[in-house]
Symmetry: C2
Subunit: 194 residues, 2 copies
C-alpha cells in the first residue's frame, strides 16, 4: 500500500486536532476526526452520540462495567462491537488514500498494516487549560480537572484495547510540545517530515 498516513494522538487541549486539520490542508489530503464518528456509526449501527461518547475514551464512571459487565453469553459487549467497527473504518480509510487521522487509537490499529507517521502532541497543563476554556467555554468543573479526567479516560480506553501505554514516547515517531513550540511550528515540522 503506497498511501501514507499521519496519526495524531494528543492530550486534551493541546491543539492536536487543529494541527491535524491544518497539516492535512497544506498537504492536500483528508483529515479524519469528527468525520470518523459518522462513518463508525454507520458501520456499527450505533448512534453517533454513542460512538462519540464511547469510541475513544473510557465511559465516565463505568468503563470496566461497560467492557466486562455488559458481555453477552459469548463474552462480547457493545463496546467490543464498536471497537471492531472502528478498526474496520480506519483500515478502510487508510487503504483509500493518504490522510491524517486524529485520535481513536489509529496508531495502534494501523501498526504494521499501513505506512504511518505516528505523532503525539502534548503541552503544559496551564497552556491546555487556557486553550480549552477558549475553545469549549467554561464548565462547572475547573479546567485542570477537565483535562485530567479527559486524558485519564482516553488513556484507559487506549490501554484496554491496545495493551500499550498511551502517551509513552516509544509508541510515536515524533512527540511535540505544542505549548512551547506553537501550533504553527508543529504543523511545519510535520509537513517537512512527511
Amino acid at each position: 500500500m503506497s498511501n501514507r498516513i499521519i496519526t495524531i494522538s494528543r492530550q486534551f487541549g493541546s491543539g492536536g486536532r487543529t494541527i491535524g486539520k491544518e497539516l492535512a490542508a497544506r498537504l492536500g489530503i483528508p483529515c479524519y476526526d469528527q468525520e470518523l464518528i459518522g462513518k463508525i456509526a454507520k458501520e456499527s449501527g450505533f448512534a453517533e452520540s454513542y460512538v462519540e461518547e464511547r469510541g475513544e475514551q473510557a465511559l465516565r464512571g463505568g468503563f470496566m462495567a461497560s467492557v466486562f459487565g455488559d458481555r453477552d453469553f459469548y463474552g462480547h459487549s457493545n463496546q467490543d462491537d464498536l471497537w471492531n467497527a472502528q478498526q474496520k473504518v480506519i483500515l478502510k480509510l487508510a487503504q483509500e488514500s493518504s490522510c491524517v487521522i486524529v485520535g481513536r487509537c489509529a496508531d495502534y490499529i494501523l501498526r504494521g498494516k499501513a505506512d504511518c507517521l505516528n505523532v503525539f502532541i502534548h503541552a503544559d497543563s496551564n497552556k491546555r487549560a487556557e486553550r480549552i476554556v477558549k475553545q469549549y467555554g467554561e464548565r462547572d468543573a475547573a479546567p485542570q480537572k477537565r483535562l485530567q479526567e479527559k486524558d485519564k479516560r482516553r488513556a484507559a480506553y487506549y490501554e484496554f484495547y491496545t495493551d500499550n501505554k498511551w502517551g509513552a514516547m516509544e509508541n510515536y515517531h515524533i512527540a511535540l510540545d505544542s505549548g512551547a513550540l506553537g501550533i504553527e511550528k508543529c504543523v511545519e515540522i510535520l509537513k517537512d517530515l512527511y
Copy 2:
C-alpha cells in the same frame, strides 16, 4: 541571557550523541558530551573515571547505598558533591555560549535558567541493540540486557536528583524516534527548529 542551549537526553544506543555532535557542527556551536567529564572532574576534584561512572547513572548494584549510605555527619555524600559540581559546570557553559549538551540531566539543571530546547532521542530496542554492538563491540552481556541496564541506571539517577520522570514526554519539547526517522532526519528537524 541570549544563549540558546539544546539539551539532548537519549536512550542508550539511540544515536543521541551522534545527533548532538552533528547538529552542533552544522550550527557552528560547541557540543558537550565527553568533554563535560573533564570539566566536572576539574571542578569537583574527582577522577575522570569516577565522574564518568557516577555522574549520569546510578552506580551499578549500589546506587541507593552510594547516595544514602555514604553520607557524612552533615548528611551529604560524594555523590552529592559530584551533582553540585556538575550543575555548576553546566550552568557556566550555558552562560558562556550557545551549545548542545548531551545527557547529564542538563534539561533539568537549566530549567528556568537558560533558553533551552529539550530533546529526547529514542529508538526501538532492536535497532539500538544493533547499534551498540556496532559502536561499542560485543560484550559478555547480551545487547538487549546492556540496553536495559544502562537505561535503568540513567533513569534512576535522573529521577533521584530531579524528581522528574526520565523519558516522560512532558519534560521535552520534542522527542524523536531515531530508529524510524534516521539520524540524518533527526539532525535536520532539530536544525530547522533551532
